[in-house]
Subunit: 338 residues, 4 copies
């Protein structure tokens, strides 16, 4: 932490700031510069609240120097974390494709789609049972019935399954039935749900909030790891910007940055980012080329009949093409990243 004093700060004010810092138990080291003095705060363990120093007299600015996250940081664990889900590996050198419908709508539909995506290259099946919907009047998912269908899909196909938990009560249920519990973008800073996830022994797929910085996203993962669960898979799914040609703006620059800052695997959801099928395939290719560890993609055997998000669901043939393309890109990319 660096406390920058105003140009006209008096030596009394500087001394007072030093005193206030040291009273908090830190070491303060003033650095006289050409125009002003800056005070470095040393020996702080863990995060320091910038706002405390911001309000001291004659302080112009407070600048954070160290990152607030610890357990998720690559500085605390140099090697990539690989999350194991059954015999499927996520992270470090693997490109794992999760696919399935937005929402589970029926057993027969789910089994049909699962067979299709498995044959075409998916390793994990996705499907929503409890859907977070902007409108209370929209289809909210089949609930536990949907989870039972997911369990049946796993039994019949051998694929692990992933589904979203939207609150504590649902988390208990979802955790019983699925292999990976998803925390959605709108709940990324539902700290209570993150703590619940920290107590789980199931891997957690943590989507980035639509206005979350990478630091906030990693801090959300820190909540889960701090609770004792280190099987966290990060998922970029687009952020909200002024751009209106896409549902969200997929931020692929996040992938190299997350990989540098953290040891956790990071995958990409091009379907929710795009909102339109035509953008999903090119963005999925780009996500693999940028170096993500996997994709989560919506696929439907009859998108025009889907109860939600039909317009962004791929047709099975599109998905098959996509799987072919990304395997080749992944080989190239992995080679280049050693």
């Amino acid at each position: 932490m660096l406390v920058v004093m105003k140009k006209n700060a008096t030596s009394e004010q500087i001394e007072a700031a030093v005193g206030a810092i040291e009273q908090k138990g830190f070491t303060a080291r003033p650095i006289p510069g050409g125009e002003r003095v800056a005070i470095c705060i040393l020996h702080n363990k863990g995060p320091v609240d910038a706002s405390f120093f911001m309000q001291l007299p004659a302080v112009k600015e407070v600048i954070a120097v160290t990152r607030p996250f610890k357990l998720v940081s690559r500085e605390s664990r140099a090697h990539d974390t690989v999350v194991e889900v059954g015999d499927v590996l996520i992270g470090n050198g693997h490109l794992t494709v999760m696919a399935g419908p937005c929402a589970i709508e029926s057993e027969s539909g789910a089994l049909a789609i699962a067979a299709l995506v498995k044959e075409r290259g998916a390793r994990i099946f996705r499907g929503g049972a409890f859907k977070p919907r902007t409108s209370p009047y929209s289809f909210q998912g089949l609930g536990e019935e949907g989870l039972k269908i997911l369990a049946k899909v796993r039994a019949e196909t051998g694929m692990p399954v992933v589904s979203e938990a939207i609150d504590h009560e649902v988390f208990d249920l979802v955790e019983q039935y699925v292999d990976i519990v998803q925390i959605g973008a709108r709940n990324m800073q539902n700290f209570s749900l993150l703590r619940r996830a920290g107590k789980s022994r199931k891997p957690v797929l943590l989507k980035r909030g639509m206005a979350a910085t990478i630091e906030e996203w990693l801090m959300a993962a820190e909540y889960i790891m701090e609770g004792g669960n280190d099987k966290v898979i990060l998922c970029e799914r687009g952020v909200r910007t002024f751009a209106n040609h896409s549902r969200n703006t997929l931020d692929l620059s996040a992938i190299p940055v997350v990989r540098q800052e953290s040891h956790l695997p990071v995958i990409v959801d091009p379907s929710h980012a795009a909102g339109f099928r035509d953008q999903v395939v090119p963005l999925a290719r780009a996500a693999v080329a940028v170096g993500c560890h996997g994709l989560i993609v919506e696929v439907h055997n009859e998108p025009e009949k889907a109860l939600s998000d039909g317009a962004q669901s791929l047709y099975p043939d599109q998905f098959a093409d996509l799987c072919g393309q990304i395997a080749a890109i992944s080989n190239l990319t992995r080679a280049s990243m050693h």
Copy 2:
């Protein structure tokens, strides 16, 4: 809903789109234009899923014409809703000031601040007992102990109290102790918590999410009203933009728009928007001038010792000045809005 066909759409494709619309139970009325055909969808009750039509062959775009919200809409209730909390009124012609510390830190501190803000013009006392914090290592609030202190503040000062609920379990507790339950910005689309709030008989203060459109914010309020609770107070607290001189960008244009679209009262939180004390007083004045129904402001008797958000808390004297200024501005503004 308007389904816009591509320029080169054939008459078969147009007929197919009309058929698909009518199969869903709507009326389709094609409008031949100079360059292309658009099909109006009529007689739809409630929201229509745009994505379904988006994927029909030769469809270029689908445009929503009506708003998806009903109960919160001014079209469904012409007169302003006034929320009563004890003898304090919020909405239509009243300017209600809520003030207090970011977090409840001790009984003596809370009582001291409450006495100060009451004397200077606050009608409702605010204070966090369960704090949503970006870092798991930061102070998380006193919990139920904080709620007991709030109840004591009410008993001693007669002021109603407001505090945030961060999950279901906490909602049950908070509801027992306080007069207004707050749902924070990070939980604005925690639909499960919104449903819980819909079952409450206590007024709910619903903060706008930091990347929420007005439509999404009103749809969140719709969840609460649809559940049976129509005592919803909206609260603008800044949105996330590229601008970095303020913690968030306070979006005051939201106030006239919300007042036009909805009958619900809408207040402003300049403290969390700004993040810095120096911006709070001018933004609070501006919020009143733009026509909001109230303010929620952080005040601390010793901001430099606050355990959270000290830099944005007003000193008691600043708060007193502010109350004087806004009373006069409110009179002017109200007169002009008749």
Copy 3:
């Protein structure tokens, strides 16, 4: 400038970074912290290019400590600049209203509007002669004919006039006819035009770009002042965000920040920010309450016949009401800011 080293930086790498800094002619002072070393760069006159240091081996981050602007900074001039335009003053304790149509459409129209706005409280007349338009097919303004009409308005009403210059050639013309030359939001970083403005002896109204940080905006003003023209009036007109209920998001938090960082006067354009008449009056009141030095507002005697931006132009009676309201708010605000 603070150069933060990676945790695992070796002492050789730290020494190399110190050497590289000193070779550039600066003083480097390494600060060993609990976890890592940071190196302060001292005695730099003027801006230092962060990217140079960013690429040194084992450097994690480079943090700017001082602001890059000089002439516009309040640290270089403590007292508010007051720009004089004829007998009209802009800045420090004055609330100056500029009003008129978006574009000059005819002499009779301009004179009629000018008479109206003068009577109701405007001190300066605005009107576009050269219009920057998103589409090449839209009305582009009357050109020099419009400037002649503006000169006539001044001759008949005594009001100074302001109009936009969209390139060098137009600047030469506009400068001859008007009292204040406007540089529009889209040209805020047209550095060539800023240099031209620096050579002018006329005051310059510099609008904030729709994605400009305050630092970039003040640096644009720095270009003009560095060129020798210190009569710069800043103008906030909304920034681009995800919000779609307003044409732009008016960023009123910019006003207290600019007033703190700079001595230049800063006014607000609520018309272009809002895009809709119903939002203009409340936002104008808010702008005055937040502490701006003036407003620039679009008013038309027949908005429904306006050739551009009719929907955001106030009716004369609305403008009259507005002038009454803001005078009172301004008195209150000024008193509170002493």
Copy 4:
């Protein structure tokens, strides 16, 4: 254009709106819906000013149905435009790499870098002679001297060269020396410069503004084409968002959308988007995978000595690796897009 009336609009108000539309020379067709009436505007040639209709009594909203651009639209030209620069082709099935330093700093340096990038796969050489810089105190480029060096590079290597024009006067100069004239992001809505580019016979590289929608970007290209120059190459270079881990947020979803909406070639600049070398290579791969027609990349033989943007310039070896990777990805991608 669709004019949506308020729910409570009277039949007189609807008739008045119809009359107002027809007075403008359009056909108005009212569509009675379940809850409200919408009026379709037909037979409009070219853009209609929405703001005119927005202000008619009882109008709730005005919705644009057709796109405002014509010449750049794929609806006006079905086949991809291929821009020829000497024997280099840009567009439709070609992946063209432009590379070189941010700024031309010396003849020997430019020649050294040109030789390096040519050998490694670049087809066009880039280098700034006139630099737009945020600060008036930063290095502004060598000016005409830089252009002469570019001409020399072309003479010695046979590579066409591209450089930026920042105003009219500079455009005249740049046009004489280079093969492609660049219009930078900050000048994307410098309409006067766009008109100048429309009169040129040289291809124009038009960067997207950092807060420009795709519609605005294509309208800027429309200015150039409307002026008579159809050799426009679009370039995505990142947009400004709240995200702060990258200099800008590269919006790769723009590529499939632009390719669908327009026949013009579109390339990507990962260097300015990222701002940091470590992000450039992965983003460049992603840009090719998403389907762009080329890249413009900063490469420097001694980045640590670069006078500007050293931190984002690739080392020659990184560039060589990149060229190898993208050639393979491009083959895959092109195959999949047929």
